[in-house]
């Protein structure tokens, strides 16, 4: 199963949308850099992730969330935060990584 990484803001680019269109059930999606904005609840784009929650596993890179001042904002239920070591673990446990730059 693939690990997808998305590093672009969902408000500015359609990377996450395209990623989710082709992501298989069971795949992992790790939001990094400006991609982490997609994980916030109560935004105009929150539904992108909510619609696939349960069949795709969503992760955010904690340091990128903190850098953007989102550490205390409400994140969409079910999104798991990982650190850099967790990022490496995810890469290791998936068959390949698809980076949606």
């Amino acid at each position: 199963m693939l690990l997808h990484t998305v590093n672009k803001s969902p408000f500015e680019r359609n990377s996450l949308e395209s990623c989710l269109r082709v992501a298989e059930d069971g795949a992992g999606v790790l939001l990094i850099e400006d991609g982490v904005y997609a994980a916030m609840d109560n935004t105009q784009v929150s539904d992108l992730i909510k619609k696939r929650m349960g069949n795709v596993k969503f992760y955010v890179l904690g340091p990128d969330v903190d850098a953007r001042g989102l550490g205390n904002q409400s994140m969409i239920d079910g999104v798991e935060s990982v650190d850099y070591a967790g990022f490496v673990d995810l890469v290791e446990k998936h068959s390949a990584t698809q980076a949606w730059v």
Binding site: N42, D64, D66, R68, N72
Partner: protein, 130 residues
């Protein structure tokens, strides 16, 4: 060196508008725009700074960038007042789309609707967007 404007300020003052549309750390646009704002301030121009689209994220409180090894430049927005840059505007629609309110921002701003922003933009002499 003789400073011509020691007596009465700068010879020419124009209405400058800086439109910030980018999130703070994914690209270098936001930081560079802030530097451009400071340059205009140094020349004592009539500076207007707008935050819209992902640019509103530049003002988000509680940025903690140590772990990504980048400089947190959000405190600089609080220092702008000291350079007489006090006209900060946020587009209402952009703020709402991101589930944010003025309480989430590091500085006091004037919230404008797109309609109001349209009018303000039309009055400018120089507009820079990034």
């Amino acid at each position: 060196m003789e400073e011509e404007w020691d007596e009465g300020g700068p010879e020419v003052v124009k209405r400058f508008m800086y439109v910030n549309r980018k999130a703070p750390y994914g690209t270098v646009y936001a930081l560079e725009m802030l530097e451009k704002v400071l340059i205009a301030a140094a020349f004592e121009q009539d500076v207007h700074v707008v935050f819209m689209d992902d640019g509103v994220y530049q003002l988000k409180k509680e940025q903690e960038t140590k772990a990504i090894n980048m400089k947190n430049f959000s405190p600089t927005f609080r220092a702008l007042e000291g350079y007489d840059v006090e006209k900060l505007y946020v587009e209402k629609e952009s703020l709402e789309a991101r589930g944010l309110t003025v309480d989430d921002l590091v500085v006091p701003v004037e919230v404008l609707s797109s309609e109001e922003l349209k009018g303000l933009m039309d009055k400018q002499e120089v507009i820079l967007t990034a």
